[in-house]
Assembly symmetry: C2
Homo-oligomer: 583 residues x 2
Amino acid sequence: MEHRTYPEYSSQYPLLLTTFMKRPVRLYPDDIGVVYRNHLTSEYFRFTWRQWYRRVSQLAHALEKKLGIAGASGGIGDRVGTMALNTHRHLELYYAVPCIGATLHPVNVRLSPEHVVYTIRHAQDKVIFVDDSVLPLLEGIYDQVKDTVRAFVYMSDKPGLPQTTIPDLLAYEELIAGEPEDYDWPWLSEDTNATLCYTTGTTGQPKGATFTHRQLYLLTLHVMATQAVVNTPDFDAQGGGNRLGENAVPMLNTPMFHIHGWGAPFLTVFSAQKIVLPGTFTVQGFCELVERERVTSVGIVPTIAAMLLDYKDFHKYDLGSLVRISIGGGALPLGLKTKLEKLMPNFRVSSGYGMTETAPTTVASFLKKHMVGWPKDRVDDVMVKTGLPLLGLDVEVVDEQGRPVPHDDRSVGEIVIRGPWVTQQYFRAPDRTGEVWRDGWFHTGDIAKVDTDGYIVIADRIKDVIRSGAEMVPTVLLENLIQMADFVLEATVVGVPDPTWGEVPLALVVLRPGFAASEQDIVDFLARHGVDSGKITRWMLPKRVAIVDEIPKTSVGKYNKKLVRDQIDRFLAVARDVAPARD
Amino acid sequence: MEHRTYPEYSSQYPLLLTTFMKRPVRLYPDDIGVVYRNHLTSEYFRFTWRQWYRRVSQLAHALEKKLGIAGASGGIGDRVGTMALNTHRHLELYYAVPCIGATLHPVNVRLSPEHVVYTIRHAQDKVIFVDDSVLPLLEGIYDQVKDTVRAFVYMSDKPGLPQTTIPDLLAYEELIAGEPEDYDWPWLSEDTNATLCYTTGTTGQPKGATFTHRQLYLLTLHVMATQAVVNTPDFDAQGGGNRLGENAVPMLNTPMFHIHGWGAPFLTVFSAQKIVLPGTFTVQGFCELVERERVTSVGIVPTIAAMLLDYKDFHKYDLGSLVRISIGGGALPLGLKTKLEKLMPNFRVSSGYGMTETAPTTVASFLKKHMVGWPKDRVDDVMVKTGLPLLGLDVEVVDEQGRPVPHDDRSVGEIVIRGPWVTQQYFRAPDRTGEVWRDGWFHTGDIAKVDTDGYIVIADRIKDVIRSGAEMVPTVLLENLIQMADFVLEATVVGVPDPTWGEVPLALVVLRPGFAASEQDIVDFLARHGVDSGKITRWMLPKRVAIVDEIPKTSVGKYNKKLVRDQIDRFLAVARDVAPARD
């Protein structure tokens, strides 16, 4: 790699992940920067920033010299797959691989084995780094990927190698041991590809979204700029609880194989925050890490919130350091919300929106200036909306002719996005790229409305929307409303054939343990909280409701509507017709 | 200009000032965004963001159609000069000119008329926009620029045109009236030049530093990211006083013809903050604007602080909204600091460093994690240091071989910088560019030391450093120490010939009104507060001191050491020899 000097250097100083990595090492070399707790053994591993940086450098040397990984500058270099949980080693791979010009492919190990095989083969991963707890999955698919992948590296907190059917397995710690503790990082073109993230593939095969250094750098910088200026509910409330900055202690709860762990590996390192890695989520591990490491910030999904509240030893832990708990990935049931607010006084509802192709953050819920100081219930109403675009991102909701819909809280359209960190293209799939990139906009396939203040509210996926008569019934909007009932744990809505309307909505509902409700109660709740408040119209109400024990989900915990539709007879068998609503 | 679509659009979404301009218009169209007060008539002008945006659009149309200004995409378009104070019109020019692909040249009207002429001719400004109060200056130089500049536009709060010697003067308000209120802004290459800022030219002719859209965008984004993470003294102190975000009401006190008004025209617009423009600084205007507009944030120089404190009606105003007052552009005398802290409880000392070529922000004083919670005097000691680099910027202090000096608070070297917003080149001056850009670093010509925590402390300009025997005497360090004395208003140090040492330091000191001190008192103060605390060595103490009424200054208020040296006999005539120090 040629080192560039004046003049390119000055004008085109490249935006590289290398810059993120170097900052905490320079600023806080001897502070503990990375803490990892093994969720099975409860063992702790702590690294100063200098120690962590040395391991990243050693890994970079090993990748090049021992594994033959070749980087590119511009374009795309060799792909390196990870099948790993949230550990310090995964964080080391997040920097060593892209910073030598290669591409990191964090394999989503929660996909079906068939899809895991597909993504590894499609990415043409040359090497796979696999955690001990994920090894059985790899063993099961080894025969289907062995012609593509030429080396497998085993990552474990225990020394040595396991009994395995995989030949020539290498050990991570042995691989990096003895390598030089610094590395002369190349001045790559900022347009060098850095990561490859596959969609979950609910329709068809997963698609590989590509991201360059520039895109990930700009994602991170715009998230930080957004944090610097927007209003959140705890703003002004408790002495900077919101604006924690480098003193925050984030726990990376979202798997790092899900769309860059929602961006945390980049944001936290550049911010020089102490990073807490839990392997994978366990209730006890969560509580212990918060207490011991004084974790301040964590994002969780509603299911995990419910698990925490049901944990019998919850009260034994001091979770007082938590000043930012944000809930994402689904609407928060009202009962759960009330309970959380009682047990965790610092708890705040917030919402957001993103997808694999957007790296992922695009829209998040903030308060506009005139809402600062509003009472809590009104603030909460705003904060559960999908939100406003991040700084620097173009987001529109458009009709089928590509015209922005009126901001009237009623008209629906598709969300389209363009901006510095939207994926340019799917890897080796120009046709599928052409389907989403049209007229200069990335088409999300998500249906939303916009309120008079400009807040976007997700209404549905295009492919899930129910066509009832001449109208569209937005199912996600219905689901979120049903989930506000304190007797509801989960709810999804799909269309079922109807001789009069073409399709009508069927709601599948899982009740919260210890609560009782009838099918009619559910529609009545919807009428009271949805129709009467103007959030939906009466003709959108489900015509049938099925109370069930479980709703099929995808690998990332979303409702799997494709599977629901495939098994529709099973659900229709237990469904009951309901009246539009009792008065 | 061709509108680009997929695929370039997505991967290379350009970083343009256009994005900054559009944000507040989209988010807060009907909020007051820009407030300007005429400092002569006390008249107020208020604009909603929508109104301001319409005027920017109208100006863009007029620039192209009526003035024949042609933009570029990549490279550099026509130059448009401004000779203007801090008004809404100047802020309109800050966006309309670059966003059509032309280059804004804010003429520093405080330079000598000779240098003003030089910069206009060197920039080849096609049009000059001139404020009514600056018109006399333009009239004086008209004959020397009329062959370069083909149109002059007069900006005034009063309608019509003045009696003037300049033929064919156009009126700004008439020029933009009737133009369309929206503009189809081009998708420029982000490497299109946006601004041209001349240095003050203390040695030789001013040099024109060029900045592209990308560079100004990235300057702004990194400043915001820095604000999002670093610790400042008022952090945690008073409910988010520091993290004001979009609720801040900044007053732009620094002239917009000084290095982008320290970046404020970009930062405040993208942040959607209400912007307060005072024309030019007056004591009464300052107090009135703070009270009426509830100004929260302002940066001032020590001289202005002193003027405020001496203002007899100071106590009549409610300045309680001011939660961020930062002092820049010189060391703050201790007496002034104590008085400011008493009268303005929210006052905080802070320091920073930048120059024309760096757009300007590069280094600023923040607290490191372990300093949060330190007592005020220790915090103040940190905050008066020049500081730490902004996120994303490479800053080193190097010896003559280009090696980083040890971080021992003693070794001095030159500050070198590289990063996304350092100027690439001086306009039409490749030789002068080559003098500062060497070995991949921009050489600042500033001498500094680095303490054990990594804080940079400016010690001198290379050309001002005194060579005494085999040692270097850093004059800025001495000046800052002398100015800590409560009896000192201003102080500068230059070298004078000495038969034994080659050169020895001469200190010129202006006493504060109402204070008395002898030449020896000054050296004694230096010995006590500098030598005894280890900040300087005994042999650095001035050998001669002159107490004077005034020290010559440059157009930006810095000590003009060139002029001092030119007139050295006058100062030596009143200087007295001093003993190294009394015990």
